[in-house]
Point group: C2
Chain length 153, copies 2
DNA sequence: GTACATATGTTGTGCACTAAAACAATTTAT
DNA sequence: ATAAATTGTTTTAGTGCACAACATATGTAC
């Protein structure tokens, strides 16, 4: 089966009717995001970096000294979720918690020297992975998407 | 605080630099999808319907008699995840499993009469909710988004 | 027809993400 | 000084997702 050129007894199933889902942005966003998530995982799971961890890395790298709750707020995450994420990134020696001198309740987050080197390698991976997906688009469509999606947060 | 018109002592934090995230479609998709997910939940959680359940309902309604794995494949879900979903929808008396006569391994899925009535109410809720979000867009942008996002699955 | 491979629904497991509540330590407001 | 709010943390619970394994049933090869 499979090599036989018999297109009378079609092996392919009837096409599925998606009804209203075909016009629902929420559903299409979920599907597209799943594609990007899987692509990211395939490219970076061996480095132990998930999309969630990556976001924290970027924000800490671009904003040295931010507190955990500030990072959480920036990424629309819950404060409590940051604990495990920062623990993990600290164990990977990518970022570090320093005691804040202004507010002894909070930690200030910084990249480690190794974290900065790691970040460069990571960025390369992520960029290549995204470029691969952008090949599916026509010139300008990516920018259009980014601009429109920004309206939803 | 809050009513005082004192914009010299700004209470707002320094703006966060998002670095490469600002140009990453994967990240923006995640944020936008989160908005839609929360909006959907706010509109339909009292009916006990999540986005995932809704997708199954639509596919079963539009394709009566489909098997569980066919529905799973159509929605890019895992077979094993369908068990719990169909169990839940059956307990809500929205769909039913019928023994397939052609293949005694599989179930054929159908909407119940009550499920069909429920579906009408549900569609109204979901449409209203999505319309609310579409107000953030200019005419034509929704269709543009749908067309471009389709390229990613 | 028998033996082997495949498909289906199901169960169980593990992992990650999410949200909410509660708490001690600290800071801020009154 | 007292009360209220904030920070990081822990705990808990719920969800979703992916993978492996299994019994049942179907299909294929010989």
């Amino acid at each position: 089966m499979g090599s036989a050129a018999n297109n009378l007894v079609s092996t392919e199933e009837d096409p599925v009717n998606y009804g209203v889902l075909d016009h629902m942005l929420g559903y299409k966003l979920r599907r597209a995001q799943l594609t990007f998530f899987n692509s990211f995982s395939a490219a970076c799971s061996d480095l132990g970096v998930s999309p969630g961890l990556f976001g924290v890395l970027v924000v800490v790298k671009e904003n040295p000294g931010l507190t955990q709750t500030a990072v959480a707020k920036a990424l629309a995450n819950d404060r409590s979720a940051m604990v495990g994420v920062v623990d993990k990134l600290e164990k990977m020696d990518l970022i570090e918690r320093r005691l804040s001198k202004k507010d002894r309740r909070s930690y200030a987050l910084f990249m480690t020297p190794y974290g900065l080197k790691f970040y460069e390698k990571l960025i390369k991976r992520v960029s290549d992975q995204e470029e691969e997906l952008y090949k599916l688009l026509k010139p300008g469509e990516k920018e259009m998407l980014l601009a429109i999606l920004d309206k939803f947060d």
